[in-house]
Symmetry: C2
Subunit: 339 residues, 2 copies
């Protein structure tokens, strides 16, 4: 039988074609001794005494599959690596579940698998288990990916959205809105003189740098869906504190600001895939900011505000003219299928 160039229903049957697909695409790109066992579950080496494992999962349904600065595969690795890193965990292992639509070009799948493998290498994680399902044409939109991740939280690290304290500084690791606007520009077929790029990146290295600089990191969050505004609202609500941010301090690229204005969007609510918000004790703030700026994924880090005891659960934005407005959580849907 000649090798098909598109996904067939039989690729999901569990039979010969499923096995070929797993061997010729996934095992080939993700190769590591644990995955190569192809058993029902991967058995891992012991984690060590007192090690606290961290677990997380995300599904990725982004449209289109390829966008400036990344693709659904890179995103599926970064997103889950970053969720682990936001608890201070060192990411170690990923699992991946593919839902493929009948007719998906095999070349696209292979590009995506190669991209996942390269991103996993860059982040220092291994893809140790996987699953592939195929649904009939019209029952899914090309390809969905789930990744689950496991990491280890180093002793003494206690980072949680509930740990913000009045007086803490709020740091963003760089410009906001790049991912969402890059995807929008591709989706809408917009061309700019300076093309927008997604910021999609694994942030575990940046988190390690931060934790090596100071133990006084209280909260970390990656402002993905719902953007910076949503991440800050979650932190304020979970910690029972208020947050005040200064509009002029928030880094936004000119091209992102321009496209947001054009489309009537607010960069505060636009998704990022390579940024983090850190809430840190005032003590080591400058040291931490300097360390972040020395890292490739934190070069444009900035202090954007502080935690206050007033208006618990609320985020307040101070505008350049001195006005103050409440930044609510998003109620409707701003950008569907952005991750």
């Amino acid at each position: 039988m000649p090798k098909p160039d598109r996904i067939l229903m039989a690729h999901g049957s569990g039979g010969q074609l499923s096995h070929n697909l797993v061997e010729q695409v996934f095992v080939k790109h993700f190769h590591n001794p644990i995955l190569a066992g192809l058993d029902d579950a991967a058995v891992l080496p012991p984690l060590g005494d007192n090690a606290r494992p961290a677990l997380t999962t995300d599904s990725y349904v982004i449209h289109p599959l390829f966008f400036p600065g990344g693709d659904i595969g890179k995103l599926a690795v970064c997103g889950t690596v970053n969720d682990l890193a936001m608890r201070g965990a060192r990411p170690l292992y990923l699992t991946t579940g593919f839902i493929l639509e009948e007719g998906l070009p095999l070349d696209d799948l292979e590009r995506i698998a190669a991209s996942m493998a390269a991103t996993a290498r860059a982040a220092g994680v291994q893809i140790v288990a996987g699953d592939t399902k195929v649904v009939d044409r019209g029952s899914a939109d090309g390809l969905f990916i789930n990744t689950a991740g496991m990491g280890l939280v180093p002793e003494g690290v206690e980072i949680s959205g509930a740990n913000a304290r009045p007086g803490d500084a709020v740091i963003i690791s760089g410009t906001i809105g790049d991912h969402g606007m890059a995807v929008m520009s591709r989706r809408e077929g917009l061309n700019f003189s300076t093309p927008l790029q997604s910021d999609c990146a694994p942030l575990n290295g940046l988190v390690t740098t931060l934790l090596e600089t100071s133990p006084n990191v209280h909260c970390l969050r990656d402002p993905t869906r719902g953007g910076l505004a949503t991440a800050l609202n979650e932190l304020a609500a979970r910690s029972g504190v208020g947050i005040e941010i200064k509009e002029t301090q928030i880094p936004v690229r000119q091209a992102v600001r321009g496209l947001c204005e054009l489309l009537g969007m607010d960069p505060l609510y636009v998704a990022n895939e390579g940024k983090l918000v850190a809430v840190v004790a005032p003590k080591d703030t400058d040291k931490m900011l300097t360390a972040m700026r020395a890292h490739e994924y934190g070069a444009e880090a900035a202090i954007i505000g502080r935690v206050v005891s007033e208006h618990p659960g609320r985020v307040v934005l101070c505008t350049p003219l001195g006005a103050r407005r409440v930044v609510d959580m998003l109620v409707g849907a701003q950008l569907p299928r952005i991750c």
Copy 2:
């Protein structure tokens, strides 16, 4: 805003409606202290010295969502619990990723979440992390679920598809084909005097029973997609051995046999979701069979064949008339979207 009765795009925005959905459906049903943190990742208690973690993942795309004997939620918990159990691991934690189609009735989602919660309780696992994505109408078929699972392999347990040895006995824990034929009967609107029921069940208790009875369990596999024939072919290939099975020894319900004949299907290739194949050393075979039969999910367990050194990688079926035929892996797709 009144509570919507269907999934809206905004349920996937990461904003207020996403939070409501998570709190009012998922946290409500899956409630446990780890999940309640709602951080980017769940941090778990230490696993203990020398404990080997096991990791696995599966996505579930079954159609229809509800079928006799189960639903996609029950299946999503059992399938992943069983994959862990097939390595001898004690399942502990699950993560779950939902991909919802705009327009899905919220009542259906709630029924499915309740079913997942009940099955997780029965299997003794906690759902500790989750994710929800929404795709626009027509971009998915109702609801897809991914679950990833983590368990612990007890010291001394070494179960793998590569461990079958000539002379080993091959045991099936009960009747084959029930799940696939129950789903087919619902899908095709067929009614029978004795309705077919899926065998969907968590098998970790049965595996514990087996391992407590004897350490001589070499391979375990749950014959899901591709059925018993595919599972046996995988074991033969991975272990580099031949397998011989006796047609008359394989338990098949009359109703399943009848529907298979009607639809031109072979029960050997039909999916099961509550059965396992055990390849065990000859020494304790009878003891293990007795122990399995005393368990609710192993009452109809039977020895169906043995491992041989001849024809490595091949499965041979001996018919009642004494003929021998090779049972190949499936090449085409027999039943799409069966799990």
